[in-house]
């Protein structure tokens, strides 16, 4: 008997009992659908996170003040006040023209901002012109903070598009308008281009002011909260990182690197950490989906076992008419594989549609994981064989007389 005939026979049997066939495939449909949707979703969020981090520049080093020890009490990392504008200037003068392209000292703090009757609470960042270079900020309208603004401690502000929306409403041009930060009036001189960020450190929702203005007029601080260093290229990152570390240790009169009151990390460090988190997340989701896939497979086995019992007489008859063992095995196995493959195919379509819808709903790039699709098809076929084998074997082992007598 030809295999094409067994396949036709299996399809005929499956179409004869549509309800049973539908119910049997349901488990696989859900299993494969969720595997594809969840894996695609995991990958797209991974991609979104790394794209966002990479958009900040892959040759960027960030220096933050470290945990400060006073006596035996150790403070939180980043909370110290050990970094100063002078540190940044020293970095600039020492490394200018070598592997360092730009050094951007920053003072950043959250603050309430009002404009007319609107107000918002957002990140106020004191910057120098280097910030625009280092963070790849481009202007939608107006100009960025200039060196003159920093030297003269002028009260001017550059807004991110989200801040503009919050303070002035969408689509308005705020140039020349004034905003109030901590009872100081600032004139808006520019709006940055949207970077489309979300979550923490959303660059679209920031207000930039001259560094000196932020330190002295707004927050009364002598320190800075971070220094961003742009290296000339990615390959010299470690070298630059070491050089900065050495210089700062010397400046802070520390001899033991373990006592460092600052830390330096690169975008790659953040990227690594972030993708590790999203990777774990994806693995977790896939694990849950895999469980539902196994449950679906057991569902198929269940239905196939019921089918074998239900069709005992049929199997007996087929054997009496000359069907060999392997023909019976093939028939039942092929039925199971067709069930799972059809289920897998439907599940795949549903999974792809679901992941597209969810990605759109939560504003993620829609990534259809080809690997997940191939895997889903292979796995569903495999489940068909794995869970179809036992019922098929059971069917083929039936004695024709017993089977024919079965009521």
């Amino acid at each position: 008997m030809e295999y094409s005939e067994i396949i036709t026979e299996a399809i005929t049997t499956l179409t004869v009992n549509k309800l049973r066939t539908g119910l049997a495939t349901l488990g696989i449909v859900i299993g494969i659908g969720s595997v594809i949707a969840l894996v695609s979703l995991g990958q797209s969020s991974q991609q979104a996170v790394s794209a966002q981090i990479q958009s900040l520049g892959s040759n960027l080093l960030t220096v933050i003040p470290g945990a400060q020890s006073s006596g035996f009490v150790r403070g939180a990392a980043g909370g110290g006040t050990t970094l100063t504008y002078e540190d940044a200037q020293a970095l600039m003068t020492s490394f200018e023209g070598t592997n360092v392209k730009n050094v951007s000292p920053e003072y950043s703090s959250r603050s309430q901002i009002t404009a007319g009757r609107n107000n918002t609470n957002t990140q106020v960042v004191g910057v120098t012109p280097a910030y625009a270079e280092v963070r790849k900020v481009s202007m939608e309208t107006g100009t960025f903070i200039s060196q003159r603004d920093v030297s003269a401690m002028t009260k001017v502000a550059v807004l991110g598009p989200q801040a503009v929306t919050d303070l002035f409403g969408q689509g308005t041009n705020p140039i020349g308008e004034s905003i109030r930060i901590r009872n100081n009036s600032f004139r808006v001189i520019g709006v940055t281009v949207s970077k489309g960020g979300t979550g923490f450190q959303n660059q679209d929702d920031m207000v930039f002011v001259p560094l000196t203005t932020a330190q002295k007029q707004l927050f009364g601080a002598k320190n800075i909260t971070s220094i961003s260093v742009e290296a000339t290229n990615e390959n010299v990152m470690t070298q630059v990182q070491d050089a900065i570390g050495y210089l700062l240790l010397t400046r802070h009169k520390l001899s033991d690197p373990t006592q460092a009151d600052f830390s330096i990390f690169s975008q790659n460090d953040i990227l690594g950490a972030a993708s590790q988190i999203t990777g774990t997340f994806t693995a977790l989701l896939s694990g849950i989906a895999a469980i539902s896939l196994i449950v679906g497979g057991i569902g198929i086995m269940n239905i196939m076992l019921v089918t074998v019992t239900e069709r005992t007489r049929e199997i007996g008859l087929r054997k009496a008419l000359g069907a060999k063992k392997k023909t019976i095995i093939a028939q039942f196995l092929i039925e199971a594989v067709i069930l799972t493959l059809v289920g897998g195919l439907i599940g795949m379509i549903i999974g792809v549609i679901a992941s597209l819808i969810i990605a759109r709903a939560i504003n993620l790039p829609s990534v259809i994981s080809l690997r997940a699709i191939v895997l889903a098809i292979v796995v569903s076929g495999g489940i068909g064989i794995l869970f179809g084998w036992y019922p098929a074997k059971k069917a083929s082992d039936l004695q024709p007389i017993e089977a024919l007598r079965y009521e």
């Binding site: 005939e5 049929e314 008859l317």
Partner: protein, 221 residues
């Protein structure tokens, strides 16, 4: 043609031995129409299973067309059933929700015969049993007698050495039962060897020879 010599079938159940078929020997020649008769529990069904290569004897020899069936493997038995034996069962045993044509063609599928030839042959035999206009009907759209005629058509498609009928009229109204027996007699006149199992004397007397069985032994041959 058919040679059964000293065939026994013994079932052991918790050390209790049941001799369903006890040392039976007989021969059936080509072209015969034999009825095997006996009350229920006489062992006639077991004998029929052995004759149909559905079951192997515990001891003794069963030779069909020169082949010793008592020594064959499962798959070889399947082959014998497919090519040399045409079954007609009491409860018809047609595939449900499957057309008469497909039911009749089924043995040919297992023999690996091409689809065109299967359909042609199946149609021919359905015509022969008078169901040419019912080929697309499924079993539940047919009467008992019609279903049994489909089963007879199915038993013939492989041109078997013997037709084994197990209580072929057991589930059929008596008016239709005569019809079935007429078909068997016609087949026998055409040269088919028929072995029929029954407990009804009215049906048995259609055969040319009757073998009576009681308690697993032949009473008269």
């Amino acid at each position: 043609m058919i040679s059964v010599s000293r065939v026994c079938k013994i079932y052991k159940n918790d050390s209790v031995e049941t001799r369903a078929v006890d040392d039976i020997s007989f021969e059936i020649k080509k072209g015969e129409f034999v009825a095997i008769m006996g009350p229920s529990g006489s062992g006639k069904s077991t004998l029929m299973h052995i004759l149909g290569a559905l079951d192997l004897p515990t001891s003794g020899e069963y030779i069909l067309d020169g082949e010793n069936v008592s020594k064959l493997s499962d798959d070889q038995c399947a082959n014998i059933r497919n090519r040399k034996i045409g079954f007609v069962f009491q409860s018809y045993n047609l595939l449900p929700r499957t057309s008469a044509l497909k039911n009749v063609a089924l043995p040919m599928m297992y023999a690996g015969i091409s689809k065109e030839k299967r359909i042609g042959t199946a149609k021919k035999f359905l015509e022969m049993v008078g169901l040419a206009d019912r080929i697309d009907h499924t079993p539940n759209q047919l009467s008992g007698g019609q279903q049994q005629r489909v089963a007879i058509a199915r038993s013939l498609v492989m041109n078997p050495s013997i037709i084994l009928a197990d209580e072929p009229t057991g589930n059929i109204a008596s008016s239709q039962a005569e019809e079935i027996m007429t078909i068997f007699k016609k087949l026998n006149r055409a040269g088919h060897t028929i072995v029929m199992i029954t407990h009804e004397p009215d049906i048995a007397h259609h055969a040319k020879r009757i073998i009576h069985i009681r308690d697993g032994k032949i009473v008269t041959a």
